[in-house]
C-alpha cells in the first residue's frame, strides 16, 4: 500500500512536470551566456545567465513610451506604469509596497522616449516572489482613484523641481526645441496642465491599448537556470493578454526655430548644442560612439580643452542618445553666466573643426581603445545587462548589441567615420538650448 502511494506520487509529479513543460519554447544560450525565447502570449524573453553572484536584475519593458502620448495627455505612460503597482486583484497599494520592500527588492518605474519600464534587482532567493507581485499587477491592476491623486501630487513636485536642476532643464528644452510638443519633444513626467487632466478612465484605456504580451520584453540577468526563469515567468505572466496595439512611428518633422532659452537667476548657465540624426544603422552607431569618445568623453577629449585651457567650465562633455527612430549627438557645458557667449563660440568652433577635419588616424586608434573599455561599463553589472538587452532589442538592434559594438570597433576605418560626420552633422538638424540668466 505504501509502495503504491509512493508510485502514485512519483507519477503525478512526472505528469505535472510534463504538463508544465508543454507549449514552452526551449532557450539555448550562446557562449557568452545570452539567450532569447518567446512566450505563447508574445512576451520576448531575454536571459543572461551569470552565476558569479546570487543577485537577479530584471526588466519589464513596455513598448511605446512618449510615442503613445500627445501634448494633452503627456505623462500618461509614466502614470500608467506607476499605477500598476498601486493595487491589483489580490493586493492593495500598501500591501504591494510593503511586500516589495520586505523582500529587499529595488524597484523603479520609468518612462523613456520609446518605451516604459518596470525594473527590479533583488537577491535571487526573492526573485520569484517579486516576479509574482509585479506579474499580478500587470495582469489585474485596479487603478484606485485615490492612488492616482497621490501620484499626480508626486509628479507635480517633480515637475516643479525639474527647473531647479539646470542640466535636466536644458536637456529637456533641447528635445522640445527640436521636436516641439509631440513625440520625442515631450517630457516623461508631462506638464502641470497635462497631468491635471489625466483620469483613471484614461489610464485604463492606455493600459488596455498598450500593455500586452505582444508589446513586452522581459530581460533578466541572473544565476538561475534559464529554463527555470522561463517556467517561472510563464507561470506568473503567461496569462497576460496579447492584444496590445502596434505603436505608430512618430512625426519626425524638425522645428524651424533652432534655439531654445529659459531664464533663471542662477550663477551657472547650462547649454546643449548638437545635432538630431535620423535612424542609424548598427555600423553607424559604432562610428558615432568613436566620434563621441574623441569629441567630448572624459579627460583628454577635444571639449576638455574648454575646461583645461580656456577655463570656461567645470562640466563639459558630449553625449549621444539612440532611439528607435532617431539619434541625437550633442555637446553640453555648464558655465558661469558671464561666459555663455564665449562658451557658445568655443562649442561652435569644436563642431566646425570636427566637421571640417574629422578625426585623425591617431585619434581613431585612441577612440577604439576607449570605446572597448567604456562599453564594458554597460555590461559589467547584472542591472546594466538587463537594461541594455531590453533596450537594444526593443529599438531594433538586438539584445547582444553591446557585445557586437565592442567587436565592431576594430573594423571601423577612418574614411567611414569621417564620411559619417560629413553626411550627418548638417546645419538643418543643429539645435541649441540654454538655461540661465538672461
Amino acid at each position: 500500500m505504501k509502495k503504491i502511494k509512493i508510485l502514485s506520487i512519483i507519477c503525478l509529479l512526472g505528469l505535472l512536470l510534463v504538463f508544465n513543460g508543454c507549449g514552452r519554447k526551449k532557450i539555448s544560450l550562446d557562449s557568452e551566456g545570452y539567450g532569447k525565447t518567446t512566450l505563447a502570449n508574445g512576451i520576448t524573453v531575454l536571459v543572461n545567465h551569470d552565476e558569479t553572484t546570487q543577485l537577479t536584475a530584471a526588466r519589464f519593458l513596455v513598448g511605446g513610451g512618449l510615442l503613445t502620448e500627445t501634448a494633452e495627455n503627456n505623462g500618461i505612460t509614466n502614470l500608467t506604469l506607476k499605477m500598476l503597482l498601486k493595487g491589483n486583484a489580490s493586493m492593495t497599494a500598501e500591501e504591494i509596497t510593503e511586500q516589495l520592500d520586505f523582500l529587499g527588492a529595488n524597484i523603479s518605474v520609468a518612462c523613456f522616449k520609446d518605451y516604459g519600464v518596470i525594473s527590479f534587482t533583488s537577491l535571487t532567493e526573492n526573485f520569484e516572489e517579486v516576479l509574482a507581485i509585479i506579474s499580478q499587477s500587470f495582469i489585474s491592476p485596479t487603478f484606485p482613484e485615490e492612488e492616482l491623486t497621490k501620484l499626480k501630487h508626486e509628479v507635480e513636485g517633480d515637475l516643479k523641481a525639474v527647473n531647479d536642476n539646470q542640466t535636466q532643464a536644458s536637456s529637456r528644452l533641447f528635445w522640445q526645441t527640436a521636436y516641439g510638443d509631440r513625440g520625442y519633444g515631450l517630457y516623461s513626467d508631462g506638464t502641470l496642465e497635462s497631468i491635471a487632466g489625466i483620469t483613471v478612465e484614461a489610464i485604463k484605456k492606455h493600459y488596455q491599448k498598450y500593455i500586452g504580451g505582444n508589446n513586452m520584453i522581459f530581460s533578466i540577468a541572473t544565476d538561475l537556470a534559464p529554463e527555470e526563469v522561463v517556467i517561472k515567468l510563464d507561470n506568473h505572466l503567461g496569462g497576460l493578454k496579447a492584444d496590445a496595439e502596434k505603436v505608430s512611428a512618430p512625426d519626425m518633422t524638425l522645428q524651424p526655430e533652432k534655439e531654445g532659452f529659459v531664464s533663471f537667476d542662477r550663477n551657472q548657465s547650462f547649454v546643449f548644442m548638437g545635432y538630431t540624426l535620423g535612424h542609424l544603422k548598427p555600423a553607424e552607431i559604432a562610428y558615432l560612439d568613436l566620434v563621441n569618445r574623441i569629441m567630448g568623453t572624459g579627460v583628454g577629449s577635444r571639449l576638455w580643452s574648454l575646461r583645461q585651457v580656456e577655463k570656461l567650465a567645470y562640466t563639459v562633455y558630449s553625449q549621444y542618445n539612440i532611439n528607435k527612430y532617431n539619434a541625437v549627438f550633442r555637446a553640453a557645458i555648464g558655465t558661469d553666466t558671464a561666459k555663455v557667449k564665449q562658451a557658445l563660440t568655443s562649442l561652435e568652433r569644436e563642431w566646425k573643426r570636427l566637421i571640417d577635419e574629422g578625426l585623425s588616424e591617431e585619434e581613431l586608434v585612441m577612440a577604439k581603445v576607449n570605446m572597448k573599455n567604456g562599453l564594458i561599463y554597460r555590461i559589467d553589472t547584472k542591472a546594466n545587462r538587463a537594461d541594455n538587452m531590453a533596450y537594444y532589442e526593443y529599438i531594433g538592434y538586438g539584445y547582444r548589441f553591446i557585445l557586437e559594438l565592442i567587436e565592431m570597433a576594430d573594423r571601423v576605418t577612418l574614411e567611414e567615420v569621417n564620411k559619417f560626420i560629413k553626411d550627418n552633422l548638417t546645419g538643418e538638424c543643429k539645435y541649441l538650448s540654454i538655461v540661465g540668466k538672461k
Binding site: E51, T52, T53, Q54, L55, E94, T97, E98, D101, F102, L103, G104, N106, T121, S122, L123, N126, T149, K150, H153, E154, G157, D158, K160, A161, V162, N163, D164, N165, D265, R266, N267, Q268, G298, V299, G300, S301, W304, S305, R307, Q308, V309, K311, A313, Y314, G334, T335, D336, M366, V369, N370, K372, N373, G374, I376, Y377, I379, D380, T381, A383
Partner: protein, 431 residues
C-alpha cells in the same frame, strides 16, 4: 620588504560576493598598504588609492585646499608631463580616472584595459608622489573649482546640506567645513602652501591602495613594489579635532533662490564610524525614510499628502555621523511638514519599530550592500575608502553586523539619537 599575506575566514558567503578571504594584502616597508583582488569577469583593472587626508585636516587658512589639491593632482601634471600630456596619455590607454574628496579622505581611481596595468601603476605613482602643478596651471584649475562651487550654490539640495554643516558641527569641529571651501580661499591660497600640504599628507604610510581586476596578484605586487617601493615614509600630523557645540534648541537657516519648490532639511549629529550604534541607526534610517513603505513616506506623503518626496539619511564618518530628514514640498507647507516629521520621530521614540519592520530593513540593506560590490571599480573604491578611516574589514563584517541587530537594539538606538527638540533646520525656498 615586509610581506604579510593575510587570509581571513569567510565571514558571510551570501550572494557570492567578494570578501576579505579573496584579497591578498601586503604592507610595503614604506608603509603603503596594498590590497589586490583577482576578478577575471571582464578584461579590466581598477585601482583606487585613498589618502587619509580630507577637509578635516584643513586649518581655516587651507579651507578648500584638500579638494583643490585633488583637482591639481588629477588634471595639472607631474614632474614628467604637463596636464594636457597627462590627459592625452590617459586617453591613449583607454583610462577612466577620477578623484573624490570627503571630510575624512581623498581618493583617486583609475580603471582601464588590463593590458595597461603597468601604465596605470606608473602614472598613479607619478600623480600621487610627483605632481608639481606650476602656478600658472594651478590658476587655471582654481577657475574650474570656482565653477564647481557655483554649481553647488545653484543646487538647492547641495546648498541646504553644505549650509547646515557649519551650524551643525560648530566652527571648531573639522566637519563644519565645506569640502569645496570658500570662493575667496580657492581663488587665493598660494601654490607653495598647497604644495607643502601635499608633501606632508601624501606619504605612503598614509595611504591604502586597492587593485581589483583581471590580473595576476603576484605579478601585480612586483609592479607595485617597483613603482611605489622607493617613496619615503612621512610623518603625518594628527587631525584637527575640535569639540561639538552644545545645542538645546532648533537653529534655523533660511536660503532664498530662484527655484520652483520648497526644500526642508532637519539635521542632527549621529555616532562615529566605530560605534556599534551605527548598525541599528542604518536600520532606523531605512525604516524612517528608505522607500515608499517607510514611516515618513507613509505618513507625510500617503496619509497627509503634504510632501512631494521625503527621506531620512544617516552618514557615518570617522568622528561623528550626520542624520537628517529631508523633504520637498510646497514652500507654504514647510512648518506643517516639520511638525509632521517630528511627530513621526516622536512616535518611533515612544512606541518603537516592529519585528517585521526590522526584518524588512535587514533585507533591503543586505541587497543594497551586495549590489554595491558588483563592479570592480566600486569594490576597489569601497575597500580602500573604508580602510582609510575604520579598516577594510568593516565592509565584510557589515552584513553580519546588520543581521545581529535586535529589535531592542534598534529601539534603544532610536530613543538615544532621535531628537525633536534640538536640530538644525535648513530651508531653501523660492525668492
Amino acid at each position: 620588504m615586509r610581506l604579510v599575506l593575510i587570509l581571513f575566514c569567510l565571514l558571510l558567503p551570501a550572494a557570492g560576493m567578494v570578501s576579505a578571504a579573496d584579497w591578498q594584502i601586503t604592507t610595503l616597508e614604506n608603509g603603503l598598504k596594498v590590497m589586490i583582488l583577482e576578478n577575471h569577469q571582464v578584461p579590466q583593472v581598477n585601482l583606487s588609492t585613498t589618502i587619509k587626508a580630507g577637509a578635516k585636516n584643513e586649518t581655516d587658512y587651507f579651507d578648500g585646499a584638500t579638494h583643490l589639491l585633488e583637482h591639481l593632482i588629477l588634471f595639472r601634471g607631474t614632474e614628467k608631463m604637463n596636464g594636457e600630456e597627462l590627459a592625452a596619455e590617459m586617453k591613449k590607454h583607454g583610462a577612466y580616472f577620477n578623484g573624490y574628496t570627503s571630510s575624512d579622505w581623498t581618493d583617486f581611481v583609475i580603471s582601464l584595459p588590463n593590458e595597461n596595468l603597468d601604465f596605470a601603476l606608473q602614472i598613479h605613482a607619478d600623480m600621487l608622489f610627483r605632481s608639481n602643478f606650476p602656478k600658472e596651471a594651478m590658476d587655471k584649475e582654481r577657475q574650474a573649482v570656482l565653477e564647481e562651487i557655483n554649481i553647488t550654490e545653484d543646487n538647492p539640495v547641495d546648498k541646504a546640506y553644505r549650509s547646515s554643516l557649519s551650524k551643525l558641527f560648530g566652527k571648531q569641529h573639522p566637519y563644519s567645513k565645506n569640502v569645496l571651501g570658500s570662493k575667496e580661499n580657492v581663488a587665493n591660497v598660494p601654490r607653495d602652501s598647497v604644495y607643502a600640504y601635499y608633501k606632508r599628507y601624501y606619504a605612503p604610510n598614509n595611504m591604502t591602495m586597492a587593485i581589483v581586476g583581471d590580473l595576476d596578484a603576484a605579478a601585480t605586487f612586483e609592479l607595485v613594489k617597483k613603482y611605489f617601493g622607493d617613496f619615503p615614509r612621512g610623518t603625518t600630523p594628527e587631525d584637527n579635532y575640535g569639540p561639538l557645540p552644545k545645542r538645546n534648541r532648533v537653529e534655523e537657516i533660511e536660503i532664498k533662490k530662484d527655484i520652483g519648490q520648497g526644500y526642508l532639511m532637519m539635521s542632527t549629529i549621529g555616532p562615529r564610524a566605530d560605534s556599534p550604534d551605527q548598525f541599528p541607526l542604518d536600520i532606523m534610517a531605512t525604516l524612517l525614510g528608505g522607500g515608499e513603505s517607510s514611516r515618513l513616506w507613509k505618513k507625510l506623503k500617503d496619509e497627509l499628502g503634504m510632501v512631494y518626496s521625503v527621506n531620512f539619511g544617516f552618514y557615518t564618518s570617522k568622528y561623528e555621523g550626520t542624520m537628517f530628514a529631508f523633504a520637498t514640498c510646497n514652500p507654504a507647507d514647510i512648518p506643517d511638514v516639520e511638525k509632521a516629521v517630528n511627530e513621526v520621530l516622536n512616535d518611533v521614540k515612544a512606541n518603537g519599530f516592529t519585528e517585521k519592520e526590522l526584518r524588512k530593513a535587514k533585507n533591503t540593506i543586505k541587497t543594497n550592500h551586495f549590489l554595491s560590490l558588483e563592479r570592480g571599480l566600486n569594490i576597489a573604491d569601497k575597500y580602500a575608502q573604508y580602510d582609510s578611516f575604520i579598516g577594510y574589514e568593516f565592509v565584510d563584517k557589515y552584513p553580519g553586523n546588520i543581521e545581529k541587530v535586535t529589535l531592542a537594539d534598534l529601539n534603544a538606538a532610536s530613543q538615544k539619537y532621535l531628537n525633536t527638540d534640538s536640530y538644525v533646520k535648513t530651508t531653501v525656498v523660492p525668492q
